[in-house]
């Protein structure tokens, strides 16, 4: 019973709850038990919500009273620690915010609560979302449920690992340069970066405001769509929020699963991010197979070129630090978070500098100083100004490509999960992990990662990325769900069902040779 509850999708749980086959308290308890059993090894959570069962009981009461409830009412969800939550600490993975409980909810969190989802807790992340492995969290790394000595991707490794380890059916993430999609790829899960402005950023602790976007994390495309339907839409509290009326993304995913959705769809393979140096052979193999499958289902596969994507990482690592150095100026030891007072008489500026020295980790300091440099007089035009021009070129490449095709595809990450510790002292090699995901952030277009199989050489998950024109997020769900179904039909199972069992008893039994 418990095992079937944690292995159910959010869509299935929502239906079972609506049919009163199971209560939200039972579903929530099953996930809390799972967290208690495996999170010591996985470390996906920084905080587990002590009120989760009470929230679940409240949803059960409402349902019993006949109150009309949404499709995910009573379904548990994990929340990335970058989001402000009343009643739960929100640290963004940083010591400078240790124990800080915000006085308001992020809009997306308020929307989850209004739709009666049950927050389970806060998930681990690279400090202020700066990283691709969750190793830069001030609270220790998260471990990949497929292989505990490997990274779960980043910055949202906690949310991806939580759904991959069946600790939560769904989660929220944030994606500034791939922090939802790359962890999804290396944990065999699904994640979506919506169109910039499609989901409110109010109450998300900002990293780089022109790149950040909040989005869903799940084990299936339909589940991400259901979450997106809850969190999306205009928010007057976010001045970059789009006023669009969005279609139902769950309907789009269901269209994709109905069959025939890929007939005549023009799919562009982006030459610059589809292979070459730095791409693992098993990733290329699975990508080629997935393209063949899409073609067999009636899609027209064409190669397109986006020459400026070659410079996207460089532009990103100027724009992001520049914006981050400004956004993180608010951690000044005055209004929230840590305060460190140095010895002797000190001014508020001395306190600020001592606090930021003690409260920020190495990657955050690196990026703040880099951003301060890129914005300095004399360097501004050469670095930040040039990076903004590259951004224009990347947008033009997308525009030209979308004149020829309906969606673009690439591998979601160039490699499978690498061992913890392998790249942590090599910033440049760490930055290359986001090669395939960064262009979408620079242009504001939406992207999804869908599991595309295990790499033959190491048995670890790989992901395929779809990117659509801005505002066309529905295409990601339709074609993503179609591909997911084709792959699962070929395999005869879901990819995540191949992940190792993490429960301590069975692991012990396995080493004893009892199973």
């Amino acid at each position: 019973m418990t095992d079937s509850l944690i292995r159910s999708t959010a869509a299935q749980l929502g239906e079972a709850l609506a049919a009163r086959e199971v209560s939200s308290v039972e579903v929530t308890q099953a996930h809390l038990d799972r967290i208690a059993a495996v999170d010591g090894d996985v470390h996906a959570f920084l905080h587990v919500d002590a009120t989760a069962l009470a929230t679940a009981a409240d949803v059960d009461r409402r349902r019993a009273a006949g109150e009309p409830l949404g499709p995910l009412a009573g379904v548990p969800i994990a929340i990335k620690d970058v989001l402000c939550t009343v009643g739960m600490p929100s640290t963004s993975g940083s010591k400078i915010l240790e124990g800080w409980v915000p006085p308001y909810d992020a809009t997306v969190v308020a929307k989850l609560k209004a739709a009666h989802l049950v927050p389970l807790g806060k998930t681990n992340m690279d400090e202020f979302a700066m990283g691709s492995s969750t190793e830069y969290s001030a609270y220790g790394p998260t471990h990949n449920p497929w292989s505990l000595d490997r990274i779960p991707g980043g910055s949202g490794g906690g949310s991806a690992a939580a759904v991959a380890a069946f600790e939560a059916p769904i989660a929220l993430g944030s994606d500034t340069g791939g922090s939802i999609r790359q962890p999804g790829a290396v944990t065999g899960t699904v994640g979506v970066k919506p169109t910039y402005g499609g989901v409110s950023r109010y109450g998300a602790i900002a990293l780089a405001s022109s790149l950040d976007q909040i989005g869903p994390v799940s084990r299936t495309v339909l589940d991400s769509a259901l979450v997106h339907d809850v969190i999306g839409g205009h928010d007057p509290r976010d001045s970059t929020s789009l006023r669009d009326e969005w279609p139902s993304f769950a309907d789009a995913a269901r269209r994709g699963m109905a069959g025939g959705a890929l007939q005549g769809v023009r799919i562009g393979v982006v030459r610059e991010i589809a292979g070459g140096d730095g791409f693992q052979e098993g990733v290329r193999t699975r990508f080629t197979e997935a393209l063949e499958l899409l073609a067999a289902a009636g899609a027209e596969i064409v190669e397109v070129s986006a020459p400026s994507f070659e410079h996207a990482i460089s532009a990103y690592y100027l724009i992001l630090p520049a914006e981050a150095s400004s956004n993180l100026a608010k951690f000044d030891s005055v209004r929230f978070g840590l305060r460190v007072v140095p010895e002797g008489r000190s001014t508020v500026e001395d306190v600020m500098a001592a606090t930021r020295e003690a409260g920020f980790g190495p990657e955050v300091k690196r990026r703040i100083v880099l951003g301060t440099y890129a914005l300095s007089a004399g360097y501004y035009d050469a670095y930040y100004g040039s990076a903004q021009k590259v951004r224009t070129l990347v947008q033009r490449d997308f525009a030209a490509a979308f004149e020829k095709v309906d969606v673009l595809v690439s591998p979601s990450a160039p490699t499978t999960a690498f061992p913890i510790g392998e790249k942590v002292d090599d910033p440049l090699s760490m930055y290359l992990n986001d090669l395939t995901t960064i262009p979408a952030n620079l242009a504001g277009v939406p992207g999804i990662t869908v599991p595309m199989g295990l790499a033959p050489e190491d048995g670890l998950p790989t992901g395929l990325q779809f990117m659509a024109p801005a505002r066309q997020d529905a295409r990601l769900y339709e074609y993503g769900a179609a591909l997911e179904q084709l792959l699962e039909q070929r395999w005869g199972h879901t990819l995540i069902s191949r992940a190792p069992d993490l429960t301590p008893t069975e692991q012990h039994a396995a080493t004893e040779g009892a199973v």
Binding site: S314, D332, S333, R335, F336, R366, K389, V390, Q395, L428
Partner: protein, 99 residues
């Protein structure tokens, strides 16, 4: 192009209000030289005829009616402060000399 010196990093850390240790400054200088060398190629492709983009989907004149909205109470605003007197944030001296 990127001749980043130790003194420069020290100055930048001062601007960013981070009291880096001498070891951190040393290490960061080397790392920044590497990173900046690798990203500096953006200036080669960014020719004069290309306009800069600061925002992916720019919106203009985003306003709301000029009426008081929901705001935090003083108590809420002070709830996460390291130090306060009940109605104001408390900090150490703003100016050094007068102390």
């Amino acid at each position: 192009m990127s001749e980043i010196t130790r003194e420069q990093v020290e100055h930048l850390a001062g601007l960013a209000r981070i009291a880096l240790t001498p070891d951190e400054i040393e290490r960061l200088t080397g790392e920044l030289v590497q990173i900046v060398d690798s990203v500096a190629k953006v200036s080669a492709v960014a020719t004069d005829d290309v306009p800069a983009t600061s925002h992916p989907i720019p919106l203009e004149n985003v306003t709301r009616p000029d009426v008081p909205g929901e705001t935090l109470t003083a108590e809420q605003a002070l709830s996460g402060a390291p130090d306060h007197d009940g109605s104001r944030f408390r900090v150490t001296a703003i100016l050094g000399e007068e102390q």
